[in-house]
């Protein structure tokens, strides 16, 4: 099928604008600062994007179905707190706090999914409610205080494995699995179908409920993972952590070309989006731009990159 070629190119071009923005930004930063292109700084960038990266992959699943998850940040805090509560030295083996964190996240996600599917409530409302509730629960479970005194076994998870930081490894593995899943698995295909035309997917025999439950559940599970990684990194279960993380994650996904109305998007795009946001944050700090102007510039770059991207893909 030689006809496949132009379509492939078009797909590539679809995210070309973001890639150009990314490369331009990286070049500018390499030239204007000594430190950007250094190995240690690039490792830094990778480490810094890993939590937002995991969250962005997580929320990609939900966004593909045409839903949204506003509870990411709060669930990160809640799972971090739960994980930390079970992570006091000498109490439980390492697997307990980690699984408790993951389970907490997955339960929150599943509850979102149940309310969206069986409850028939708009995802925005469901996850907004979860955002508030999870934050409250994080405060209740921690009595409003940071849960400290975590076993080094867990906090080491934020360290390095050889030259690679473990959070980066987590992000890479999660992204790889998600990519495989969405591209190669039946359920992955169903996710796109449900997001693209829910009624038609149902008529084609797809169990919309199952697909959505799955999407929200996986999103929750990965959010739990992000919570555990964050807790390990800051060696604390912090009940007020993760404020507004959902916005950065969703922004990364949408920058990467995933449509908020569902059915269109890719993990590759999400990764580009995550990197773009990460490099903007890192670069503006390296440049020593005052934080007020940072806000303005960051906004401009994000809108500009997406605009470039859309222009590219249209022409």
């Amino acid at each position: 099928m030689n006809a496949a070629r132009p379509s492939l190119d078009r797909n590539f071009l679809n995210r070309f604008g973001i890639l150009i923005a990314l490369i331009t930004l990286a070049l500018v930063l390499s030239v204007t600062t000594d430190s950007f292109a250094s190995a240690s700084n690039l490792t830094n960038v990778a480490r810094q994007v890993s939590i937002n990266g995991i969250l962005a992959v997580a929320v990609t699943f939900v966004l593909l179905t045409g839903g949204v998850d506003l509870s990411l940040g709060s669930v990160v805090a809640l799972s971090g707190v739960v994980c930390a509560l079970f992570a006091h030295p000498g109490e439980y083996p390492l697997v307990v706090p980690i699984s408790m964190g993951l389970i907490t996240g997955a339960l929150c996600g599943l509850l979102n999914g149940v309310l969206v599917t069986w409850g028939g409530i708009a995802p925005f409302i469901v996850t907004l409610g979860m955002m508030t509730m999870a934050r409250g629960l994080a405060l209740i479970f921690s009595s409003g205080k940071p849960v400290a005194d975590m076993t080094p076994a867990l906090t080491n998870l934020a360290g390095d494995l050889g030259p690679v930081p473990i959070p980066v490894l987590c992000f890479a593995v999660v992204a790889l699995l998600a990519w495989l899943f969405l591209g190669r698995f039946r359920l992955g295909r169903h996710l796109y179908a449900v997001g693209g035309n829910e009624q038609a997917a149902r008529a084609a025999g797809v169990s919309v409920t199952k697909v959505k439950l799955f999407a929200y559940g996986i999103c929750g599970l990965l959010t739990g993972l992000a919570g555990v990684v964050l807790a390990a990194r800051i060696t604390t279960g912090q009940p007020n952590a993760g404020q507004a993380y959902e916005l950065d994650a969703i922004a990364a996904v949408v920058i990467g070309g995933t449509s908020l109305s569902g059915g269109v998007g890719s993990i590759r795009g999400t990764i580009l989006g995550v990197l773009l946001i990460g490099i903007i944050n890192n670069g503006l700090d390296l440049q020593g731009v005052s934080s007020y102007y940072q806000a303005v510039i960051k906004g401009l770059i994000i809108v500009g990159a997406v605009w470039l991207d859309r222009r590219q893909s249209r022409s």
Binding site: N41, Q48, L139, S142, A241
Partner: protein
């Protein structure tokens, strides 16, 4: 276009991560640090803003280490959660000055005051004003933040001391004036006549409470005290509207931290701790705080 992070030979490069530049007190502190560093020849200071996000601040510290700065001034977001950032800097053997907030691990030097102290001073003032008798409302900052926890703990100590003081109700207003105002309005409905004082964890919220009480026409019966001594609070004290605030010496803390960072960067001895005490600001001693 100048390249801010580029270093000239022999120049001392200091990295400074501020907790949140959109909070007035921190902004004042940060400005003091930046301005004071400018007066020092051969010193270059790069400031970044953590926007109250621990993880973001940790990243910024990592960036500083990657840039091999000569010293870091850190205005930590949290007591517990910012500890790994401190450990990270210490492991990289870069001199570290903490300002305004301690962490579990100590830096090479700490400049600042103790939030516990601030809560205690403010609450003491209320106790004194009410003669140890009466109902108090407490407006918290964002729950779980160090400042909120410590200011509350300081206040609690005073409650323990005066059995006549009753904590009628408490609630968070997330450091936000409009939220504190709405909260106070609701409290006026719920507890009218039962409270004689409002203690807000910062001046922003104290101003909100003050406005609500004034609108309801019952300010004269209620003592309102905040913390931070922001400009508007000082004006309000001067006008006799706000009863008191607690002064943190932003300029003093700022200068002290730059001095400490320079001493450490030049491998000179530097005191481990430089505590700049909080002071209660009332109408009587106001003049010394107004510039």
């Amino acid at each position: 276009c100048k390249k801010p992070a580029e270093r000239k030979e022999g120049e001392i490069l200091i990295g400074f991560s501020s907790r949140d530049l959109s909070a007035e007190y921190t902004a004042k502190l940060s400005e003091a640090i930046v301005e004071y560093a400018k007066t020092k020849p051969g010193v270059k200071l790069v400031m970044v803003d953590a926007q109250s996000d621990v993880q973001k601040q940790f990243s910024q510290v990592e960036n500083f280490v990657a840039q091999k700065v000569d010293a870091i001034i850190l205005n930590p977001c949290e007591l517990e959660a910012s500890t790994p950032a401190v450990d990270y800097v210490k492991a990289a053997k870069i001199p570290l000055v903490l300002v305004n907030q301690v962490t579990k691990s100590a830096g090479d030097s700490y400049i600042g005051s103790n939030d516990f102290e601030a809560g205690r001073i403010a609450m003491e003032a209320i106790a004194k004003k009410l003669n140890g008798q009466g109902g108090v409302l407490m407006i918290h900052g964002i729950m779980g933040t160090s400042a909120q926890l410590q200011r509350e703990a300081g206040a609690r100590e005073v409650f323990a001391k005066y059995p006549g003081l009753k904590l009628i109700d408490q609630q968070t207003a997330s450091w936000d004036r409009a939220k504190a105002m709405a909260l106070t309005e609701n409290w006026i409905q719920a507890h009218k006549g039962k409270f004689q004082a409002v203690f807000a964890h910062n001046d922003e919220m104290a101003m909100g409470a003050l406005l609500a009480l004034e609108r309801a026409g019952i300010k004269k019966d209620v003592t309102v005290i905040g913390i931070d001594a922001i400009a508007q609070a000082l004006t309000a004290v001067k006008e006799g509207r706000l009863d008191a605030t607690v002064f943190q010496d932003a300029v003093g803390q700022g200068r002290g931290s730059v001095d400490a960072a320079l001493l450490l960067a030049r491998k000179q001895p530097c005191p481990k701790e430089n505590l700049i005490p909080f002071q209660l600001v009332t109408l009587e001693n106001l003049s010394s705080f107004l510039k």
